[in-house]
Symmetry: C2
Subunit: 713 residues, 2 copies
């Protein structure tokens, strides 16, 4: 030590703490995706936690120019933290930053991204605090750090801003603003460096597709996952579950999987992960019997290990310092911990036929979860595990199902960037129908799925309105663990409930194909209107008239639209909330048709509708093609042939790609899937005519008889 | 470099990042105050920012044993963060952690201490996020870091806990708790080390006294500061202010200082700090005239510098990278910046007689203040400046008044540990009367002052109820910058408003003496019931009966009491909120008497009172002595003799220390003050008789004729 000059030593120590990296190197890692490195990134990050393997589809994308001025991106490491800045133009709106519940437009928001239960304000604490945003100008930014990132999405104003706001005097200037104009997105990452990804478009939806493909593409659920699911009372016995399944059958309501709540475990909170033999004396026989009724079984759990669990001692060395509800917390970033936990799950559940999980309480909130003073044997911090725990439980449980050759589709309370390919849907304890729809829209910007679950309702109207939206979402679920409610609980709306549940089943070919596009192309199946061409970016440019009477369309798209969304390629869903008897719907450019009647609804305009209780308003784009099947009580099984009714809407020619595979195994990963081309074209005689390409030889083919229905007369 | 082995170099780099300091060294720096150092603390901290000079009174305190088991305190530095743990016993309640608005009991709370506007939940974001807590067992802990500290105040549960919670099964155990028992307070400080202070009691109030004396003792306002104050409409001219002052005089309402809102400045938001010559053509003459009316002038400002300010260019090199409302942000941790700013204040305001400031918007919230990506020329981080900015504006403005020989008393939006000696009262934009009273109680645990200001009211009842509490608070203020309301705005309650305003003035000798005790002894003048002997600690030990009928007293003190508080040595204040016609009051052990009538109110019991609108319920401890003066419209000036009516309540003998000095200058710091001993004792004839010690020769003496009033017959 004495031979080494103190000052040089000090200098060496100080260098990493103050690094200016004003012009970053950008490396195009896939067409239209660039990676830049600021400082010295953590060795553990979101993509690593997710074990994300980029989709091969990325390489088929078109090249695109770097979408920003590189000199406008600034990254510096100061005293162990990374300071990031990205430019913002005047007429630019931002979307994303995770699963937000109140806002779609993120410009102006200040967030600290932090995995947590949503606490009724959009402050960054959410189930999926994804550090990714997409601009209305058609580019995106992703900061790959498993850290609590402070985000100033166009709120901070710098002295050296190139586009400074106008200085005014609050005393006398009427136009004085408490929120002066900001020309940058800034972030503070509490790490000595970070990986940054920039995504090209050209359209905003292409940005999201690239982001999702970077994680391997969206998940492809088994077909049954898109059917109907009921979660039963937490203390039901196997006999009561059997009765529930039979009641659905007798009532003629569709049902594909039942969720068992904590009572299936011998002890829970903390959990043993083992069956309670008083309530479930023969789990294996029970699941076989349910399987014969075409009902899959999904198990609630959280990952916190009871002292009474058989794995308690074995997993102990791989758990954190603090407990959650007296359960030890497996350090799932260590292979040893995840192997012990999921080997038990495999033996106890998957090997006897359990189809999936609802993995609860991996999000927060603080008073339940481990505190940030907890430490873990991997050396990863509490913060790093908090940001990735949802990814880890999804990854290792999904790996387990993959080993066993069966697809799964389940529920999880937390996710993050890198998790798009995991077949899990996020849910929470909040129960605002409006917030649920906002979350459904935001899920499409965040690479996650969300269900606006139905839990209980005070009135038949609310029950129906919620049920209608859940049937136009990634998972059609009643979560009755506490309420024990059933679809027919309100007899006065039973026919409407049945109708929409049957519609969900009839639309299975559409839903399944749209999820395949999520998987293969990265296109979110449920997404916000800003991603729809011709809707406007949220900041309409051509005119400045702000009078609603003069120009209602412009006003509508300039404002945040949180109550209508796109479902798949062609459908615009405009749900009603309890108490509403009418609502406005903004129809993008081009003609739009009523889904139920095929009649023209409007074109690039704001319409007001009063659909009554019976139906959830759904509109179809001109030329839209919706493949449907007969209403069934259960999703078609592997290889089961199904007749199709292919609907066409509007006056334009249309085309559609119908996806097919065995719907349950992973054979699609070996190429055992097919896309069939559907085309509807106007003939010389003026009539429309549809055709569907033949099934490829050697590929799955579940299409039976095809009938054509031209909805618009 | 090549001669220095790489591995040793790496080892040296890694050593500071993982330090185990399980047995800390504790150094008794004052009687009953120990300082311990974990890791390598920041060079900039709360006490340094405040420039706190410990009170000489500390050295006169009794010695006390270290109040905790040293081995139970754990501090470790891991990867640049400090992990702290302090023990908790089963029957222990915690108070403090800053100016909280909803909770008094802090056990179980999870907070991230962060200077900010209170956002309607107690999550650590508050105007005074003081990292200090006091235990019901009679000790306290202070973590001297200008950082966002995560606090788990008895919520985290460790695997290695000595007192682990009982493991239960939520499925079947009715007593299952979502919040298992925790035996520790844990904190995460994002710094490589920290100074920790431990305070002995023996009583909880002694802990707070030691904490306040460490900062130099509480502030001693000028006598006029305890009179009545009105803040006028933001755009009033000097003529309108003059009219306002005259209206008070004519109506016969007390008034000691008027606050001018932003319009006094030529431009504000951002600020010039210079007079607007259209609204105030002759500031100096205006202030002289107001002074002749015995009215002081207080100026609103925030510290963000307008490009039009005369100091703009000069201060620019000492400002941060980001602006606030287009104003540059002086780095007040640099002497250069504070000198430029406060030299201007001194020249423009103090030299012409301005008496004080309302320093606004130094707290938050995020969308207004500089973002945490801002950097500052001192090298202090945004986080460090955010946590200390309130301290800095108080310190440097107070220094300026001290230089000029005049005491001040003003308002500030943010403070922190170390700021007890600054003569500033915190206020905010929230307006829940209940929250305001909770904050008043919590201010006493945090070393700060708080005013439950009156701003506007929908009804006469609300106006009166708010007015009553503000008269029993550190600053009796109407903040009418927006509402332009006046005490007589609701004629139907004008007599009651006048009565309580006069009472405020009559009680001046009591208030002034109680503030002197805050200054010289550290005793908070307004404080929670838990600090009152015989009230119970919040967790009563002797009995376990929980039936309200059988033992209402025990039940009441076990619960959190947020609607009554102590004002000075002898008074218990139990305000009513709008809509209440009766309320319960918990009287501690010993007899308590009605302040207005002297009649016995009760003894160690819960009473129900329905006082009507006229009065705010106030109770006096047995033997209580309250020195009062005639109702005046203005506080007595320097040297002004005032007659005293000394009241005695109850049956016990009593004693009181009456403070006296010139009430406006800093001569008390040179010893020019006196304490006079008041005693009321029962004579042999059974009658009570009072006496007051003579004034010391050469010391201030403002006591005129003394009359005695024995309130309890």
């Amino acid at each position: 030590m004495s031979n080494f000059p103190r000052s040089i030593f000090c200098l060496l120590l100080c260098i990493p703490s103050l690094l200016f990296a004003q012009s970053m190197e950008w490396n195009e890692i896939h067409p239209g995706i660039w990676k830049g490195i600021a400082g010295k990134p953590d060795s553990y990050d979101l993509l690593k936690a997710a074990g994300a393997i980029p989709s091969p589809a990325l390489e088929k994308l078109e090249n695109a120019p770097f979408p920003l001025n590189k000199a406008d991106i600034d990254a510096r490491v100061i005293n162990g933290k990374t300071y990031l800045r990205f430019p913002l133009e005047k007429k630019e709106q931002l979307f994303g930053f995770g699963l937000n519940f109140q806002h779609i437009h993120q410009r102006g928001q200040i967030l600290q991204l932090h995995a947590d239960h949503y606490g009724k304000s959009d402050n960054g604490r959410t189930h999926a605090p994804v550090p990714f945003y997409v601009s209305s100008l058609g580019y995106g930014i992703f900061v790959n750090a498993a850290r609590y990132i402070d985000v100033y999405a166009g709120s901070g104003v710098r002295k050296d801003s190139k586009n400074p706001p106008e200085v005014q005097d609050r005393n006398t200037d009427e136009n004085w603003s408490a929120r002066p104009y900001s020309d940058a997105v800034e972030m503070l990452v509490p790490a000595e460096g970070v990986e940054i990804y920039v995504f090209a478009g050209p359209k905003p939806v292409n940005v999201i597709e690239r982001f999702n493909l970077l994680s391997g593409g969206g998940c492809l659920p088994p077909r049954w996952g898109l059917g109907f699911t009921q979660r039963v009372n937490r203390l039901y016995t196997s006999e009561q579950v059997r009765q529930e399944a039979k009641a659905f059958e007798q009532k003629g309501f569709p049902l594909d999987f039942i969720g068992l709540e904590p009572g299936w475990q011998s002890k829970s909170y903390p959990c043993t992960f083992e069956w309670d033999k008083t309530r479930f004396p023969d789990p294996s026989g029970f699941i076989r019997e349910m399987d014969s009724l075409k009902i899959k079984i999904n198990l609630w759990t959280n990952p916190y290990v009871s002292p009474d669990a058989s794995i308690y001692k074995k997993i102990e060395p791989y758990t954190g310092t603090h407990t959650v509800w007296n359960g030890t917390v497996p350090d799932l970033s260590m292979p040893e911990a995840s192997k012990i936990l999921f080997d038990l799950f495999e033996k106890e559940h998957v090997k006897i036929g359990v189809s999936g999980y609802k993995i609860d309480e991996v999000d927060g909130y603080d008073s339940y979860l481990w505190p940030d003073v907890a430490t873990f044997p991997s050396g990863h911090t509490s913060e790093q595990l908090r940001q990735t725990y949802g990814l880890l439980v999804q990854k290792y449980s999904y790996d387990m199902f993959r080993r066993n050759g069966s697809r799964t589709y389940g529920l999880v309370r937390a996710s993050n960037a890198g998790g798009a390919s995991f077949p899990y849907v996020i849910y929470n304890d909040n129960y605002s129908h409006e917030d649920f729809i906002t979350a459904l829209i935001n899920s499409g910007y965040a690479g996650v799925l969300w269900t606006p679950e139905v839990r209980a309702s005070k009135t038949a109207e609310e029950w129906l309105r919620r049920f209608q939206t859940v049937c136009f979402s990634p998972m059609a679920m009643i979560n009755a663990w506490s309420s024990s409610m059933q679809p027919w609980t309100f007899p006065e709306v039973e026919p409407q409930i049945r109708a929409v549940a049957e519609l969900r089943m009839q639309m299975m070919p559409y839903w399944y194909s749209e999820f395949a596009k999520y998987h293969y192309n990265g296109t979110p199946p449920f997404r916000g209107m800003s991603l729809e061409e011709g809707f406007g970016s949220g900041l309409k440019k051509e005119k400045t008239v702000r009078n609603l009477e003069e120009n209602p369309y412009e006003e509508a798209v300039a404002n945040e639209v949180k109550d209508q969304y796109m479902a798949g390629e062609f459908l615009l869903v405009a749900p009603l909330f309890t108490g509403q008897t009418f609502r406005k719907v903004i129809l993008p450019k081009g003609k739009w048709y009523d889904f139920y009647t095929g009649k023209l609804a409007g074109e690039a305009e704001v319409i007001t509708i009063s659909p009554g209780l019976d139906r959830i308003p759904v509109f179809v784009k001109d030329g839209g093609i919706i493949p449907m099947m007969p209403a069934m009580l259960h999703a078609p099984g592997s290889g089961q042939k199904v007749d199709l009714e292919i609907r066409h809407y509007g006056v334009k020619n249309g085309s559609y790609k119908l996806y097919d595979d065995d719907s349950e195994s992973f054979d699609y990963e070996k190429g055992l899937f097919s896309w069939r081309e559907i085309k509807v074209e106007r003939q010389k005689n003026g009539l429309l005519k549809g055709r569907i390409s033949k099934a490829e030889i050697g590929k799955p083919n579940t299409v039976g008889t095809v009938t054509w229905r031209y909805m618009t007369k």
